[in-house]
Subunit: 130 residues, 6 copies
């Protein structure tokens, strides 16, 4: 495997190890190169760059996928990733709420409901609900 | 609560009381301010303006969410809203069908299927199917 | 030419005669059938249906194209169409403003600026600016 | 029924007979004209044109619906259609993978998962997984 | 004017005073309430919340508008805003580049070209080009 | 430079040499790595795969970018690319017209107008206009 793959896998170990393992398994019979490109390009090339820290990378990704509005599995995966690299639930919710201004309320609301599912899976509490 | 909130809640009582109650409950542990913004901004500021009647407001919203293509819960909620303010099932279907021209057939078809679910929940008949 | 074409052309005479003529000219060397489909399907099949009046048809189209966000020539053409069938500038602006809730502020703002260009071309005044 | 309808139905018999039958049944109580427009316009007008063969028509449709990202039932229907007109599973996967470049990884991944469901329903094998 | 308006204007003074002034002028004859909603809701309600700092707010907004792909004036306005609150050109470019993974290369490239225009207007240098 | 870069550049020489040169120049002061990723990932990884020929790759890309609706420079670049690898103007127009069904008429029309600009630049004739 390429260096880029190894670098990507290192990043994924920190950010989202379970998601990537599931992705690899889901793709192995049908498009194994696609899993490799995720590791190599998305994580090995892009996320491995030093210009932004992992927390900001995950928050801008959450903003982007909330704006797409139709990729809830990937949104949930990156909400896990954001929590794994140290973002708080409050920060994540705040980013998604802000998307109401740019992508409209329906997408922001559906993003919040995806976050709620992730927090419940992980038993995360958010500050203003204790 | 603000005047805008009260005005929004008045509108919501006419348009979509059950949807808003569900929304508030779903958001109360995670993003209660988001429910408040829906009442204050969407309904208190925008829907409370006098320039358009409620029927047209709901029909243009249905057009917009059908065009988004990925917010079926909100689409269904506004189809309920449209019926609640006096739109006929035929008018609603007609708006969604017209979206085939502007947003493509797949989104129009998925919009029609959402409408079908709402009409079945409410046991609405549409004219040309009796 | 088909009956549907004739019916479409009748509608277009009321709604947007100049836009269609320009469209036909722009397409005649490259995709003349596409102009025919616009007349036959969009106007002959869809807009000719009796379930909605022309004013509502134009307002929901404006909602949809504002939501697309990237088809400003067509948005302007339908703002002309809406004015031609009797919508007021205030109603048009109101529909576009409401899109801030569903499609986000950037698309709503760009929609308003397209409307502004159309109103200026036609020297339309809007009520609250006199 | 119109000639265009007959031509569309002929095309649909080759491409996707079961999907269209289901569509017609799902729409018959609510928007039967919409099923007719699918046959007449999409298949009778567009797919019946001679400029492209059916395989390319299905592949570009798969590219488009993957890019929309939010119309998985229609995507699956056209993956069936592509296989029915002779595209290989490898070609279909390849088109969807290429969409990662133009529509982003989340939409490409969700497209691949839709293809996987279709292949499993039909018990299709893809070359590099045997 | 409301407290929310005042709070929004305070934020806008820090983030993007010129853009808002231009917006207000552009809207005053056609939709002055829309400018007020931008100040009140986007800036007074959302950006004034304490959960995220201004730099992160601008970066997630840039991610969202790059993902929309069709609102270049607003993208440029928020690139100005990001620089005004202390983001570096490198951070902004990095966020936009990451969008290639989520929204595809065309939107990321067009985002970078918008950033380039803003940097040239302001005569900003980016580190790896000196 | 990596093997993938060399492979990508080989592909680009066939498909779109001028576009890539312009891209590289436009990015060199601001995001030179982005140009490299285009060569390495888009062309070296994806377009270099053997499962689809270049003509189909360009046609599905044209379908995708027409569906995005907001990336006209990239659409024009790939219309050039399609012509460069042997697609006819008729095939290109036909793919874009088919997008009316999936992405709506406004995006299909704007795609046709982009094709028209490219054909005029290259002085291409299309069959049915001679």
């Amino acid at each position: 495997m390429s260096d880029r793959y190894q670098k990507g896998i290192e990043k994924l170990k920190i950010m989202n190890p379970d998601s990537y393992k599931t992705l690899e398994e889901n793709l192995e019979d049908i498009a194994p190169d696609m899993a490799r490109y995720v590791a190599e390009f998305a994580y090995g090339d892009i996320y491995s760059r030093s210009e932004l820290d992992m927390k900001i990378r995950e928050l801008v990704t959450i903003a982007s996928i909330t704006t797409l509005g139709s990729a809830q599995p990937q949104l949930k995966s990156h909400i896990h990733g954001a929590l794994n690299v140290g973002c708080t639930p409050e920060e994540i919710i705040e980013v998604i709420m802000q998307m109401a201004v740019y992508a409209g309320f329906p997408k922001a609301l559906n993003g919040i409901f995806s976050a709620k599912e992730v927090f419940e899976e992980r038993d995360e509490k958010i500050g203003n609900s204790e």
